[in-house]
């Protein structure tokens, strides 16, 4: 790893892009894309990268287009982070990247390589002990269908760690990027108020 200029991105190899042309079109690899008005077919590189998720390193070969959300769900089988909108509008895909909450649907996997990702799956201890925020969501019934919940919990942890959980009003403002169609909002605020003091001195950086 020390010889790599780009942390996490360990190499790349060439292949054809997502064009709907059979493999028997060898010219494509050298066709200068700039000559075409709308280059649909062109050379892209597969990125070999290392994703560190919940304390474990995963070596993946990915198309540069793959988002962190798709890498987690489709490549690593970590389906806790949800795809609600895929446009940065709902918060269901929230994970921690180096301890800060981000939207995995608007983060390229390549961009996350080299950082430490924490997902909802990485919160509980080996023996199943829940993170105080998970326990608080259970205690306060802070969900109904549960679809938004992994994103809410990751965002709530980020919100507390950022120091934005001072008052219920501040919590509501800081959590406004997480939509809940079941409108569990009052219970979510109560859960965060419960977990906040229990999180003192604890920092979720990596799983």
């Amino acid at each position: 790893m020390t010889t790599q200029p780009t942390p996490g991105v360990v190499g790349r190899r060439s292949l054809l892009g997502s064009g709907a042309v059979s493999a028997a079109a060898p010219l494509l690899a050298v066709a200068p894309a700039a000559a075409q008005p709308t280059p649909i077919l062109k050379e892209t590189a597969v990125l070999d990268l290392v994703l560190r998720v919940n304390g474990q390193e995963h070596r993946l070969a990915l198309d540069p287009r793959v988002t962190l959300l798709d890498a987690l769900r489709e490549e690593l089988g970590l389906t806790g982070a949800k795809k609600g909108c895929d446009q940065g509008q709902c918060g269901a895909c929230t994970v921690l990247l180096d301890g800060r909450r981000v939207l995995s649907c608007l983060t390229l996997a390549a961009r996350a390589a080299g950082g430490a990702v924490t997902t909802i799956e990485g919160l509980a201890t080996e023996d199943g002990g829940l993170h105080p925020m998970q326990q608080a969501f259970l205690d306060h019934d802070a969900f109904q269908c549960g679809y938004c919940t992994p994103g809410q919990i990751m965002s709530a942890i980020g919100c507390v760690q950022e120091g934005h959980a001072g008052t219920p009003d501040e919590i509501r403002e800081a959590m406004s990027g997480n939509l809940c169609r079941c409108a569990a909002y009052p219970n979510i605020v109560a859960a965060i108020e419960q977990a906040k003091p229990q999180m003192a001195g604890r920092r979720t950086e990596r799983g």
């Binding site: 940065g88 918060g91 608007l106 390229l108 980020g158 919100c159 950022e162 403002e173 959590m175 990027g177």
Partner: protein, 330 residues
């Protein structure tokens, strides 16, 4: 999403080199770029990830030269910075009231000022006509839903509003933009970064191809402590401005020595309301003076039906912001 080549640059010269070829885009937080690439609105063939530059271009510094903000500083870091909040509240507030906690952690100041319009016809490629997306194709908004469109600075070719918040704060404080490009470094007034749509709405800024924003400067302005960003939106949080006002006041007792005013949500680019500033200079700031200033700011407004309410909302937003700033202790 169309295929692209991914590059990561850990120094400015490497970034400029990588972006040197044709259709490339810098990737900072990605919250505009990736969103619009998924929608097929932006189509870079090469994406140059500049996030590693944050170690050098992510700073927040204050000194005798004023304030300097690195282009890679995150919105959240600047919004939470104690010095910025105390000395330049309009900057901190414009960032804290924008987007969401997650987005502010991802998004950078450089990307923020370059965010694209939220015009639905621009964002939806199934509408063939959009001069901003496809020069010469027409404007779907002109006979569409225009509730969120601009009333100032429009042209017959585009009426899309500039959606960001932070830009108004920079504009009101006479900020500057620091750039690095193939031609070397340069610095321009922030007021010269964005263009009016005119008959070329696809050209939104005065940046040269491949030019990189490295930072922003704000000249020293002690009375910037008396500044506010007031944002009116369809819901109380996590929404773009329908109308907003960045205001800074230099007061001499009850009288205005100087006022700085920039308006958001209502114009095609970050909008400095110099006519309103001129109305206030030397006046006692009372209801009548604030109202006259607001009238002046929207004198040239042109509405399009659904957004007929905007000049009045914009005027009231400005009046309220002026009084809010007046009440602050500086």
């Amino acid at each position: 999403m169309r295929p692209f080549t991914y590059d990561r640059a850990d120094a400015v010269p490497a970034a400029l080199r990588a972006a040197g070829s044709g259709a490339s885009s810098y990737l900072a937080g990605g919250t505009t770029l990736l969103d619009l690439m998924k929608l097929d609105v932006m189509r870079p063939e090469r994406v140059v990830d500049i996030t590693p530059l944050a170690s050098r271009l992510g700073g927040i510094e204050a000194g005798p030269q004023g304030l300097r903000l690195g282009a890679l500083a995150h919105m959240s870091a600047v919004a939470d910075d104690a010095m910025v909040r105390r000395d330049y509240p309009v900057i901190a507030e414009s960032l804290a009231l924008a987007a969401s906690g997650q987005l502010r952690n991802m998004a950078t100041l450089g990307g923020n000022v370059l965010q694209r319009t939220r015009c639905n016809y621009f964002r939806d490629v199934s509408y063939a006509a959009c001069n901003k997306r496809r020069p010469g194709s027409g404007c779907s908004a002109l006979d569409g839903v225009t509730r969120l469109h601009a009333v100032l600075g429009t042209s017959e070719h585009c009426i899309a509003s500039y959606p960001g918040d932070f830009a108004q704060a920079l504009l009101a404080l006479d900020g500057t933009v620091e750039l690095e490009g193939p031609q070397g470094p340069r610095r321009i007034p922030f007021a010269e970064l964005h263009r009016l749509p005119g008959d070329t709405p696809h050209l939104e800024t005065t940046l040269a191809p491949g030019e990189l924003i490295t930072g922003f400067g704000v000249p020293p302005l002690p009375w910037a402590r008396r500044s506010v960003y007031l944002k009116v939106r369809d819901r109380e949080s996590y929404a773009f401005a329908v109308a907003s006002a960045a205001v800074a006041l230099d007061l001499d007792g009850g009288r205005v020595r100087e006022a700085r005013i920039a308006l958001g949500g209502v114009a095609t680019r970050p909008w400095r309301a110099r006519e309103a500033e001129a109305v206030l200079a030397g006046q006692v700031l009372d209801e009548a003076a604030a109202q006259r200033a607001a009238e002046a700011a929207f004198r040239d407004a042109r509405t399009h039906g659904d957004n007929d309410f905007k000049p009045e909302l914009g005027r009231r937003t400005l009046v309220r912001a002026l009084f809010q700033a007046q009440r602050l202790g500086a």
